[in-house]
């Protein structure tokens, strides 16, 4: 979480595609929770992550509200895309869920997170085109970022396994 926070604050908060779209990968924090995890715990986790984000970026309440909502929806979204024969304590990864359902799961979570985030940030319907653009661009960017990191991690993982088998 700390690592993600650092990446968010020092790197991603400085990306402004077209001047206003900034990916918030804090949305990823609730994604890896397994099915059947304590919902209260999940909510508190989302809330705290949002609080830390807010303190560091002067957006009091924005990250908290969004984080809590995403944490509330996580089990629903996971069930939506989980394969029918998945175990009750399914851990969402590309391997356990299948590539396509997992990617859809991540993409939808990101979309909901960024929609709520930017809608609350704008707070009006004025300039709604700008808000829509910000939601679209930053969702795609955050999604690509998560994808990139996952592929990177899994390739490191598999190369380690290969080394192991060679020995």
């Amino acid at each position: 979480m700390l690592l993600l926070l650092l990446v968010q604050l020092l790197l991603l908060n400085h990306i402004h595609l077209l001047g206003y779209a900034t990916p918030v990968v804090m949305a990823y924090l609730t994604i890896p929770f397994h099915r059947g995890a304590s919902r209260v715990g999940l909510l508190l986790w989302g809330f705290c992550a949002g609080l830390i984000y807010d303190v560091f970026s002067n957006t009091m309440g924005l990250g908290m509200a969004t984080g809590t909502l995403t944490a509330m929806l996580q089990p629903v979204l996971l069930n939506l895309f989980a394969p029918a024969d998945a175990p009750d304590d399914l851990r969402p990864t590309m391997r356990t869920m299948g590539t396509q359902p997992y990617l859809l799961y991540v993409l939808l979570t990101m979309l909901i997170y960024h929609t709520v985030f930017y809608a609350l940030d704008a707070f009006t319907l004025q300039n709604w085109q700008v808000t829509l653009m910000a939601i679209g661009c930053s969702t795609v960017m955050a999604f690509l970022f998560v994808l990139f990191v996952q592929i990177l991690l899994s390739s490191i993982h598999s190369s380690r396994e290969q080394q192991h088998t060679r020995k």
């Binding site: 604050l9 001047g19 303190v55 560091f56 002067n58 809590t68 909502l69 707070f123």
Partner: protein, 287 residues
């Protein structure tokens, strides 16, 4: 009773969800007009320090551009110095016969130099943190400028850090005028690009052309007059058609902004006027 407990256990998460959301939304709404607590902002010492460490690293990557800007400013200042010296020489030659000036004008304001430690430009209401606080004499409502023009107004202060509302905030409203005229309007940013803002309220009979400079007019008690804000790039009409709506390219590049100055003891013109008025009343009553 048991049913009730079971019910609560089953739906506890809904309760927690509602409580957390209400807390979040309350703080979201309250924070906008909330001056009291600096604990939950980047003016907080711990958060500010973390940011300073980060921005020290980032600063190295901007050294090149910073240097260029300083170089350019030096060049400009040197030229001004040269011009002024020449003027002074001419005046000296001409003013031998004139009496000495009676009173010396004191410098009206003092600058506290600071560095930006964190800044956003992508939100609807952006904020910026600088590494100077109450200990350095910075207080809320003071003006912040850089070598390229107006940056914003101090909003919150802690001992070592301050949060500034930059021009890139929908709540920021700065009274400004066209350079070389007395027509004034209000600059207000709209979410979108970080290098453009809008000036409303300049009357339609004012002569405006692209490339004209917009500067502070000194009506507010925050900025002295004549500090550049930006250059007109597009001339449009306001919604009611009564005034211009100017698109202005800001002088300050907020994406690379590092060094800023806080104006700490600007004598407020309003106060000065009042004092003058009081003085003249006093002298009148004595007579």
């Amino acid at each position: 009773m048991r049913n009730l407990i079971e019910f609560l256990q089953r739906y506890l998460y809904w309760l927690v969800f509602l409580v957390l959301e209400v807390v979040s939304l309350l703080s979201l709404v309250r924070y906008n007009s909330y001056q009291g607590s600096v604990a939950f902002t980047t003016a907080n010492d711990a958060v500010g320090t973390a940011y300073r460490l980060g921005s020290n690293v980032v600063a190295y990557f901007h050294l090149g551009t910073e240097n260029e800007a300083l170089e350019a400013e030096n060049e400009l200042l040197r030229k001004q110095l040269h011009d002024l010296q020449q003027q002074l020489r001419q005046r000296d030659a001409a003013s031998d016969s004139l009496p000495e000036p009676v009173e010396e004008t004191e410098s009206e304001y003092r600058f506290v130099l600071g560095q930006v430690v964190s800044m956003t430009v992508h939100k609807a209401n952006n904020l910026m943190t600088i590494d100077k606080g109450e200990r350095d004499g910075v207080r809320p409502e003071m003006g912040v400028v850089s070598s390229n023009g107006v940056v914003g107004i101090v909003y919150l202060t802690s001992r070592h850090y301050s949060v500034v509302i930059p021009l890139l905030n929908r709540q920021s409203q700065i009274s400004c005028r066209l350079r070389g005229s007395e027509y004034f309007g209000t600059m207000q940013w709209e979410r979108g690009r970080a290098d453009y803002s809008y000036v409303n309220g300049i009357p339609r009979h004012a002569k405006v052309k692209k490339g004209d400079w917009i500067e502070t007019n000194g009506y507010s008690d925050i900025f002295p007059e004549g500090i550049p804000v930006g250059q007109v790039v597009k001339i449009g009409d306001s919604a009611d058609g009564m005034a211009y709506r100017l698109t202005v390219k800001l002088g300050v590049d907020f994406n690379t902004l590092r060094n800023v100055s806080v104006i700490t003891n600007y004598t407020k013109p309003e106060r000065r006027l009042l004092e003058q008025k009081a003085d003249s009343l006093m002298s009148a009553s004595e007579e």
